[in-house]
Symmetry: C2
Subunit: 415 residues, 2 copies
Amino acid sequence: MITSIAANHAKGKSAQDKIFGANAAAVAAAAKYGADKVTNATIGAILDEDEKLVCLPTIEKVYRGLATNELIAYAPISGLPDYLEKVITAAFGTSRPEGYIAAVATAGGTGVIHHTIWNYMDAGETALTSDWYWGPYKVLCQDMGRKLDTYKMLDENNKYNLPDLKAKVNEILGKQKSLLLMINTPAHNPTGYSLSEEDLQGVIDIIKEATAGTDKTVTLLLDVAYIDYAGEKEEVRKIFKKLSNLPANILSIVAYSMSKGFTLYGQRTGAMIGVSSSKEIIEEFAAINQYTSRATWSNINRPAMKTLANIYSDPELLAATEKERDDYYQMIKARADLFTKEAEECGLPMLPYVAGFFLSIPAKNPDAICDKLHEDNIFAVPLAAGVRIAVCAVPLKKIAGMAAKVQAAMQAVEK
Amino acid sequence: MITSIAANHAKGKSAQDKIFGANAAAVAAAAKYGADKVTNATIGAILDEDEKLVCLPTIEKVYRGLATNELIAYAPISGLPDYLEKVITAAFGTSRPEGYIAAVATAGGTGVIHHTIWNYMDAGETALTSDWYWGPYKVLCQDMGRKLDTYKMLDENNKYNLPDLKAKVNEILGKQKSLLLMINTPAHNPTGYSLSEEDLQGVIDIIKEATAGTDKTVTLLLDVAYIDYAGEKEEVRKIFKKLSNLPANILSIVAYSMSKGFTLYGQRTGAMIGVSSSKEIIEEFAAINQYTSRATWSNINRPAMKTLANIYSDPELLAATEKERDDYYQMIKARADLFTKEAEECGLPMLPYVAGFFLSIPAKNPDAICDKLHEDNIFAVPLAAGVRIAVCAVPLKKIAGMAAKVQAAMQAVEK
């Protein structure tokens, strides 16, 4: 009796999404006890102080104001030309790196990672990211028959751990010809950490040294999904200058997403932006990624692309959008500041948070702690090495007292 | 000097899209000579008699009326639950096949083909489709390291060629354990052919016979992208009854797209619907394709899914939508009827057209004929074995006289 018809590599695949599961538990509790009694810290989207999903008003106005044609027509495979131009500006601001640059539209940030893994890794090769990482990185590698290894993101002083990165880069490049290194910064999911300019320079020095005088190559993917809530706009973008004039055997790819910066999560639009000192490598980048787009999703959501293009073509719309983003950045920051202050007061350990939607508590029994927190009607996401708290989604009044409860749950579980 | 950084399998990929190229030439001619002088028969979308892109009014009303939440929030990875329920109804109508059924949301019809090739073929295996086929089928296979072979769709009497299909099925299953057979019907792109119920029964008999008593398997993909403009709604859906109670080693997948039926081309939403007599195989279908969605695009356009769910939950909205679709079906049919009549009158050969956006003229020198037609300011798409005319996009007044001009161009080129 045949019970499977999947290809050999596809048999047995399945994923329980812990985030959706934790959210479902929170929703059920809110229905039972009342929303005011429940703290749902699982959601990766901005909720305002009334726990309402935020859509930046200017974005909504521009999107809803699009002509029918722009709402429904196909876009070119690689993206609308004005989008591809403006998304580079949106990503880099005034810190546009020197070199050849091309952009290809994608299905959100996930789409960038998909194309990058597919087109810049051979089957069976190993990619590298930090030990605190967004879980889907591994799912993407596994589904495409690639592996994922990790380096320790932070040393014992909670500083960015360049020595461990260097050891891992050299170890992997000792075994394979090319390496994909994925770094989620600024405002890292799940910790809220941001690499400083010096941290990124250290990364670049490591991969330059590892490839110098060899035919080895590195693809450095910077996943900047949270950049628009990471701090002062131009300040947080200074890291991009570090991508200027790198050797031809280092290709930089910036994963830009409209999900958070435009609060258009469900519209599935982003862009992969390639930067190289080599014209040929950027031409190859544009050609092979367009080809994979044709072979994956054909083309990308036109109205979302048009919304970005229109806003970045109109200084007034852009100023309004940036004001709105900044207000919500400040709202999230106030929540994270309060949690951090209370965590310090009660001695709850925290990973170093700079900015972003999430902060993380390192812990030995994350699942048990999250279960214990359910008794307080607090819902968070258990990770492999800690608990993720979505400060983007919890109003300030519910943040108050939360750190102490996490601390109590941790002590109850670990005693 | 390094000039490529792509993975080995990705080096050298590039695709010139002939359809976009032909369309660009038509747009340039319209700018030069005036739109009224130019016939653009390249576009795969419905243009009305004023050559304006059509959006079904009820669809636009429902989409634009969605609450902000529905416009911007993430959807679950496999799709909104109400969408997954209603899209099965939308696809099958009253001809829902017996068996286990599950749906997974995808990026249009292309997304269905992506997941099916990825999850139901091993690397290096060969898929099968008819010799007249939508070009991207091959691009998808190639990008994922699979091959595409073809059978002759029509015999010398322009009847569906079951004997050639049978020979190819047996040839491929002689070499590999499983076969993906892709059939675009009804209203086939590029010819407008539709398999009759007897044709499809013949297909099923062939794959049943080829797998009976063996552990070989067949995945039968029916690409029904054009079903909502293929004829009377329930009549064209009767083919789905043929998918009932097939042996467990045949999995049927229906590729449903909202691009044409909802005129939401650029919103990139569709669904893969699996049908099997085996519970385990449908559970595997839901699990492995959700996994690949997570690993490809994460989740699918929420407002487009919600639009379908809302319309198929409201009999009045559905009746209005079906009336609008039928009006445009009649508009396209009138154009195809006129072309067919004039083709017969002037002796221009045509592939058997039943319904749909396109009709095709078999020819030995398609590129030369299309170039020659540019002298008449007529723009069509050259295929490997003929010329594709998009009757969906050309108003009736420009159809008049077109067949004779194609005939003249063919004679000029072939003399």
